[in-house]
């Protein structure tokens, strides 16, 4: 199936730990994103990569570091996790900036 797939779907971890979320798309898109959705459902863009190049880097703590090994992958690494990092993280992709396709999300819970 053509899709944006991200793993894991659920992630429960203790404060201070380091964790990664992986994202892969097989749609042939050239732009990939990470969004954070808080408890109020607000979608906040974190990062955008176009052809492996960082395009958008919103005001996000530098504990968050994206890595794009190739056009089809965009991973998110988070250091020193804090309670406030608990949220649902969505990966998305698009061709240029049209027709975003979202993954199914990773629910991160920091305890």
């Amino acid at each position: 199936d053509t899709a944006v797939s991200q793993t894991p779907k659920y992630l429960v971890t203790q404060m201070g730990n380091d964790k990664s979320i992986k994202c892969e798309q097989n749609l042939g898109h050239d732009t990939m994103y990470w969004y954070k959705q808080d408890s109020k459902k607000f979608l906040k863009i974190m990062f955008s990569y176009n052809n492996k190049e960082l395009i958008i880097n919103e005001t996000v703590p530098n504990r968050f570091s994206p890595k794009s090994p190739d056009k089809a992958h965009l991973n998110l690494h988070i250091n020193s996790l804090e309670l406030g990092d608990s949220a649902v993280y969505f990966c998305a992709s698009s061709r240029g900036y049209e027709g975003y396709t979202f993954g199914s999300g990773t629910r991160l819970t920091v305890v």
Binding site: K41, F42, L43, A92, G99, T101, F102
Partner: protein
Amino acid sequence: QQQVKQSPQSLIVQKGGISIINCAYENTAFDYFPWYQQFPGKGPALLIAIRPDVSEKKEGRFTISFNKSAKQFSLHIMDSQPGDSATYFCAASQTGNQFYFGTGTSLTVIP
């Protein structure tokens, strides 16, 4: 600064009724206006989109109305069904640039 303002935050409609969600924007350079539908535990999915060269676009029970002079657009769901219960996001972009999402509307359709 919220580029796209969405209302209402939540909406309860009887089965068979019309659901109306409104969005407003300021940037007159925006030229693409999609709506996304998100079910619990899923990522947002593109529902319908419009460009400002038309005032209305209809796909099945879903219609976007667009008022360029007022810088407003709205989603109308005719004959609302319980299966339409979801969170709806409007968005706006200028071709070739990032999307700006509204804050979401939680729709509940009562049987």
